[in-house]
Symmetry: C2
Subunit: 232 residues, 2 copies
DNA sequence: TAGCAGTGGAACAGAGCATTCCGTTCTGCT
DNA sequence: AGCAGAACGGAATGCTCTGTTCCACTGCTA
C-alpha cells in the first residue's frame, strides 16, 4: 500500500486506524451531547448517537463511569484553558465577560458541575479544580479591584450566574446558546458596577440584550406532547 | 406497629379520620420535597419521607403519575393565586418583584416546569396554564408600560429569570432559598429600567444584594463525597 | 495469506421500581 | 359489647431498563 503506516497526527487517516481515530472523536462528541442533555442517559444512547456499537465504546473505556470522568475532566481543562486565554486581555471587565461567554457557549459548566456525582473524582481532577477556582478568582478579583464589579459581590456569585445560564435550555442546541447569551447579558447588566459603560443607562443601544427574544411559548417545550409545537 | 396516639390538640381531628387527614398533608408535603429534589425519584421515597406505608399512598392516588399531576396542578394554582394577590399593589415594580420572590420562595417554577413531561396534562391544567400566562403577562406589561422594565425585554425573558433561580440549589432547603433571593436580586438589578430607584447606582445600600454571600466551595456540593464538607 | 485489532449487536445478569396483596389494627356505629 | 370495614405497613411480584460481556465477523497490516 502506498499509504505509510505511521503515527502521524493528521486528521483524515484511512483504513482501520483512521476509523478508530475517527471513532475516538465521535464517541466523545456523542457522549458530550447525550450526557449534557441527560446525565443519567444510558451508555447505549451514546453508542447509537456516535453511530458505533457497544464494543467500540467499551474498548476505549472500562466502564460508564470512566467515560463520564473523562468528559468532566475535559471540561475542567477547557475551563482552565479559557481562563488562561483571557488573562492577556488588559480590560478586566472584557476579560471576565469574554470568559463567561466562552464557558457558557461551550456548556462547560454543565460538563463540570452537573456531571459531578456520577463518578468518583481522581486526585488530578481535584488539583485541576483548585487551579480553575484560582484562575477564576484572579479574574474576578481583577474586575473587582478595578471597580468594575459591584462591591457586595463574591466570587462564588459568578458561580450562581453560570448555574443560571446552564439552566436555560430548549430542545435546539443553537437556540439554547442564543438564549443563554441573552440571559447572561441580562445578568451582567445587573452585576456591573458604575464604571462599566452603559451601566445605569440600561435599555440603550450600548448594552442591548443580544439575540432574538424568546418567543411566546418557546420556553414551554416540556409541556408539549411529541410533535406538538407553539404555545401551550 | 407504633401506637397511634391521638394528639387532637394541635391540628385537626383525632382518631382514624384525623390520622387520615394528617396523612393527606404529610404525603403531599413529602411528595413536594422529594420530587422537587429529583423528579424521577421512586414513589417509595415519598412514602418513607412522609412516614407512611405504600398503601396509604396508593389509597389516595391511583398511580405515581396522578400524584405528580396533582403536585404540578397545585403549583399552577399557587402561581395564579400569587399573581392575583399582587394585582392590588399599586406600585408596578414592587408588584412584579414581590410576585417573583414568592414564586421563587415557594419553588413554584420547578413544580410547574420541571415536573412537566412526567405526566399527561389534563384539560383543566391547560386552561390554568393559559390563565397563569395571561396574569403574568399583565404584570409584566404594567411594569413595562410604566417604564420600569428595560424596553428590549420580553415577557418570556422573565421565564428565563425564573428558570435561572430554580437552578440555584444546595442541599439545604433554607439556604437554597437565601441564595435564590440573592441571585434574583442580582438579575433584577440587570432588568430594571432607569425609573427604578437604585438602578444605575448599583452597589449602594438601596439595592444591596440580600442574604449571606455564597461561601467558598459552598456551590461545589456535588463534588463532595458523602460526609465530606467544605471546599473542593 | 495469516493474524488480530477493531467492531456490531445480541445476550445476560442484576438492579430498581411501580404496583399489588395480605394480614393487622382499631375506629365508629349498631 | 361486638362487628364491619376503613386505613394501614410493608413484603412480594413482575416488569423494565441498563451496564457489561461475549462472540462471530471484517478487512487492514505485516
Amino acid at each position: 500500500m502506498p499509504k505509510q503506516t505511521d503515527d502521524s497526527g493528521s486528521a483524515g487517516l484511512a483504513g482501520r486506524r483512521g476509523r478508530a481515530a475517527r471513532n475516538d472523536a465521535a464517541i466523545l462528541d456523542a457522549a458530550r451531547e447525550v450526557f449534557l442533555a441527560d446525565p443519567k442517559a444510558p451508555v447505549a444512547a451514546v453508542a447509537e448517537r456516535a453511530g458505533v456499537g457497544m464494543s467500540a465504546l467499551y474498548r476505549r473505556y472500562p466502564g460508564k463511569e470512566d467515560l463520564l470522568r473523562r468528559l468532566c475532566h475535559d471540561g475542567l481543562r477547557r475551563w482552565i484553558e479559557e481562563a488562561e486565554a483571557v488573562e492577556a486581555e488588559p480590560d478586566a471587565w472584557k476579560a471576565l465577560v469574554v470568559f463567561l461567554e466562552r464557558i457558557v457557549d461551550a456548556d462547560v459548566h454543565s460538563l463540570t458541575v452537573h456531571l459531578a456525582g456520577t463518578f468518583t473524582p481522581t486526585e488530578e481532577m481535584g488539583r485541576d479544580a483548585r487551579r480553575a477556582a484560582e484562575l477564576m478568582g484572579r479574574l474576578v478579583e481583577r474586575a473587582y479591584a478595578a471597580g468594575l464589579l459591584r462591591r457586595d459581590l463574591v466570587v462564588d456569585d459568578i458561580g450562581l450566574v453560570l448555574e443560571g445560564c446552564a439552566a436555560v435550555r430548549v430542545p435546539d442546541a443553537e437556540r439554547t446558546r442564543e438564549l443563554r447569551r441573552r440571559f447572561l447579558a441580562m445578568v451582567l447588566a445587573g452585576v456591573a458596577g458604575a464604571g462599566v459603560a452603559g451601566a445605569g443607562v440600561t435599555g440603550t443601544g450600548a448594552d442591548a440584550l443580544p439575540g432574538p427574544a424568546p418567543e411566546p411559548g418557546e420556553l414551554n417545550w416540556r409541556w408539549r406532547r411529541p410533535g406538538q409545537s407553539g404555545r401551550v
